[in-house]
Symmetry: C2
């Protein structure tokens, strides 16, 4: 039974920043070689970053990717570490312009893993199953592969798979099982979701049993646009026992020694549908190296996972887009308080700027709670009264009622965007998922901003996270960041005297339960009513959700008259930066 | 050789408005029966409207659709017209909640055509090929069918196909050809694109030759969100000669008599992969009816097609969303002038409201040209000076430079949104494709609004359309709607003294050529430079396009922590209205 030493690099690529990603891959591989690794692996699309969207359909981008991939192989070999295989995820496309603009389908690349060795690409595995649901649009931008790939290295057979390949029955895992591999190595670009962890581990355990070999689940980490890759890479033995686990939400290279079955291929081809790639004898230190004990990082509780995901998502959006600082309105309410606390955890108090924008209808506590928050967080806060700016507009346009309420929110938006333009801050939008779902916001008012930290957090969870974060501080003997009053007072938009959210909306626990059934479960009104909610309330909530769709698209609808319109065809990743 | 009389109903369904769509289908079918039709057909997804997006994944919506489909069959039969087959496009899903929230993939429905006869559904064809490029996301929301369907009616065999089925080689058309059908009937939901017409006809001609039978291309018509279905349904004989053509951009039922080959199936099953459905002897008037001469509508020139597509897109967005009127800023420039002219053509001058919002930097001609436009169009125009509203903000926040320029645009946005809230107008955003591509706009400023009439129209085409529209008026002896000065003067945002667009941007003909290469052709910088554009300019344009992506998404990015986040999973059609 050979022992394989794996270096599993859980990295946070920057989309489009090839020079940075190449440097990190080369350095990590060379360091792992020095530590006796027989094989180094990086996550799905680790060379480019995962959500490359329409870049996958651009021959120029694919050519550039290929050049950098070859450069990695060359650099590793030049550093003397070329004798072990290094596996890197990348979009694998045609290298000429011939396929550009070829009409339908526009998918010209594979989602692939390259095996680099001795300065060359010695093998390429193309992902078979292309997810096209939830946040995934891979079937739109990629072609599907057909062959399995087995790497013969250090007397063992390492079979490759990429993410979705193991989520489908009858995928390449079935073909792999027939080869009786020594190890199943799965590269992933798997975004965080509440409770996803409880799905991944049993799935990988089942695949390990299916191929009767240890399995490696290697994930990316980091925020990219609206996705947060949570890391948490792990290794199980053939019975599903966890042998190693990386931390969530941080970059880490996991070094692990695994006892594996001897190769059955011995580097020879075994038949159609499986490509065997010869990848040498492993690390020159194999005979002399001492065994390493792999880390098994503790698992975080669910609220800590969510908090950390939101913090990482914000930090990476800010950093990858090159912002020095963020700015947000502080109303004294729970949403802005949680956003500010997240921002401080993400980038530190010196880079977070609060603005209190009281109106004539603002309560005293809205100001005092905002000040209290800023003091607890140690962030800058300034006050910009909105009445002197609202009044001239209200008077000139003769606005009242809802129009006047919205005007207040829009003047606040103008203040934040003006300060952003003048001082260079990224504006944070503090709306939560519940209010976005039902359209309880002013378009171009409280919805302005470049990043929405709690856009996917329902209101009831906002409160829960606030309590968790305060408790977390208390257990460490630190000041709870969020004022107790912001958590306990009734939520209000304060756009007219005495207004509270529940004038207009059901109680939030009821509202969130209905939204969860309607949006997440996708069940209809009759089913929801049968669970004990009032018919009138259910109909009202459903109607609000349906009618708020245009607000969620921020009004950017216009007739399409060409093949390449914006909105779908031309959809670059937001944080993509050409270097 | 039997003669088949077809009634081809090119309808404009309202998404989600089942009662209206059902009524139209029933009335059209009954009327066609009275005119001696042997078969009545409606377009792809004609029962619901085409872009149902995530509704296709909701069992409750699919059940509701089925109920209405059965109701149509019942009503037609009750009217005495049940003996001929009526073909209706619809999403065909499971009728229980069992598949709801079943994880991946969430596609549970087929994109289908039902054959209704004698009060029942006698056959269902499921589309084979699901487009997943450009505006299409069908692979995301639908399952793929596998069998062909042939309808045996009035001694002829009518084979069905749906849209993309004929765009792929080796699709069901190959299986259909083996049956030697009398007719190929293709239901489409094919959105307008510049020059698409030149692709559709040769394709259908090729398919007619391939099956050696006449072919019917039946399309939807109407605007729905950002799609405009242009109609233009047509029939060719087996050699590809056009026998009938409907008008573009209007609802119409085309009645056409076609000589067709005798049935080879005689209603019996012919083997695996093809389902033969017996659909009776045709219309009872067959023996006595006089032959009809089918209409062959003339084809429109390309500028008229584009203009009409933009007009229809706007009209249907306004009407389907229940707006009484639209409002837009009139700057005296070409973009707002074209938008106003489109609006008047779409909904008439009484429902279009212009606002002139001069600043201290506005030229005299910006006011006079706006007034001239309003007079030519016969629309209401009011003036709201922005200086009294800009100054207090500029002073309080100490804004200057770009921040002060953006402030002016944002105050204009606030005025339009305030008037919208107060008076109920839909705000039109007047940005063109070129400026949206390079981000030459103020987010939450000139980009505010619910509908963007020229979002997909490059600047050079805006001018061309303006000239075309004026010439079109002149040929009819009418007043050209767009002031000559708005067409000829140099474009300017007028946010600082003497500013013109070309201070910041390349000449528009150059810019549009580079954008077309980069965005539509998807070629890279080297190819573009090789066409004779300067390297520095090409790099700058590419950089602008890449960096403007966040503006095109209007800043609505936030970390996702649940399976069902907004933005992708929860994407209802904007104009969907539950009844």
């Amino acid at each position: 039974m050979p022992i394989l030493r794996l270096a599993l690099a859980q990295t946070n690529p920057r989309l489009g920043d090839f020079s940075r990603n190449v440097l990190q891959i080369v350095n990590t591989a060379v360091e792992a070689f020095g530590k006796g690794a027989d094989l180094v692996a990086f996550g799905e699309m680790s060379l480019t970053g995962y959500p490359i969207e329409d870049l996958a359909t651009r021959p120029d981008f694919l050519r550039e990717t290929r050049t950098h991939l070859e450069d990695i192989a060359t650099q590793i070999a030049a550093s003397g570490a070329g004798s072990i295989p290094v596996i890197v995820g990348f979009p694998h496309g045609p290298l000429d312009d011939h396929h550009a603009n070829s009409g339908s389908p526009s998918a010209i690349a594979y989602n692939s893993a390259a095996v680099l060795q001795d300065g060359r690409i010695i093998g390429i595995y193309n992902k078979h199953h292309l997810p096209n649901y939830s946040v995934f649009d891979e079937y739109r931008i990629f072609r599907a592969g057909s062959d399995a790939l087995v790497l013969h290295v250090a007397g063992a057979d390492v079979a490759l798979a990429i993410c979705e390949d193991i989520w489908r029955e009858g995928g390449p895992v079935a073909a792999i099982a027939e080869v009786k591999p020594s190890l199943l190595l799965i590269l992933n670009g798997s975004p965080f979701e509440r409770e996803k962890d409880e799905v991944r581990l049993p799935l990988v355990q089942r695949r390990a049993e299916q191929v009767n070999a240890p399995a490696v689940y290697l994930n990316l980490v980091g925020g990219q646009d609206d996705l947060v890759f949570d890391g948490g890479s792990f290794v199980t033995n053939a019975s599903g026992k966890v042998l190693a686990r990386a931390h969530q939400f941080v970059e880490q290279t996991l070094l692990v020694d695994i006892d594996v079955k001897d190769s059955t291929t011995n580097g020879s081809q075994v038949g159609p549908g499986v490509v065997v790639v010869e990848a040498g004898a492993g690390n020159p230190q194999r005979s002399t190296r001492a065994k390493v004990t792999a880390e098994i990082a503790p698992q975080l509780d669910i609220n800590e996972q969510i908090w950390d995901a939101l913090v990482l998502g914000m930090r990476d959006y800010v950093e990858k887009n090159g912002f020095r600082s963020v700015i947000l309105g502080l109303s004294g309410g729970i949403d802005s308080a949680v956003c500010a606390a997240l921002a401080v955890d993400a980038i530190g108090p010196d880079r977070v700027f609060g603005v209190s924008m009281p109106s004539n209808y603002s309560s005293d506590h809205s100001r005092s709670d905002a000040d209290d928050l800023a003091e607890r967080l140690g962030i800058d806060i300034r006050t910009e009264a909105i009445a002197p700016l609202v009044d001239p507009v209200e008077t000139q346009l003769h606005l009242d009622g809802v129009a006047a309420e919205n005007l207040q929110a829009r003047i606040r938006g103008i203040i934040l965007m003006g300060l952003s333009n003048a001082e260079g801050h990224l504006v944070l939008t503090t709306g939560n998922k519940t209010e976005i779902a039902v359209g309880y916001s002013t378009i171009y008012g409280d919805s302005v901003g470049g990043f929405a930290p709690i856009r996917d957090v329902p209101k009831t969870l906002v409160w829960e996270l606030a309590k968790w974060r305060n408790e977390h501080a208390r257990t460490k003997g630190l000041t709870p960041p969020i004022p107790e009053n912001s958590i306990t007072k009734p939520p209000s938009a304060e756009l007219r005297p005495g207004q509270v959210d529940q004038d207009t909306l059901p109680e939030y626990d009821v509202l969130d339960a209905i939204l969860d059934a309607y949006i997440t479960e996708r069940v209809g009104r009759d089913v929801i009513i049968s669970r004990g909610f009032g018919a009138e309330m259910v109909d009202r909530v459903i109607s609000l959700v349906d009618r708020a769709e245009w607000k969620r698209r921020q009004g950017a609808i216009g007739p399409k008259i060409s093949e390449m319109a914006f909105g779908r065809d031309r959809r670059l990743p937001v944080t993509f930066t050409r270097n």
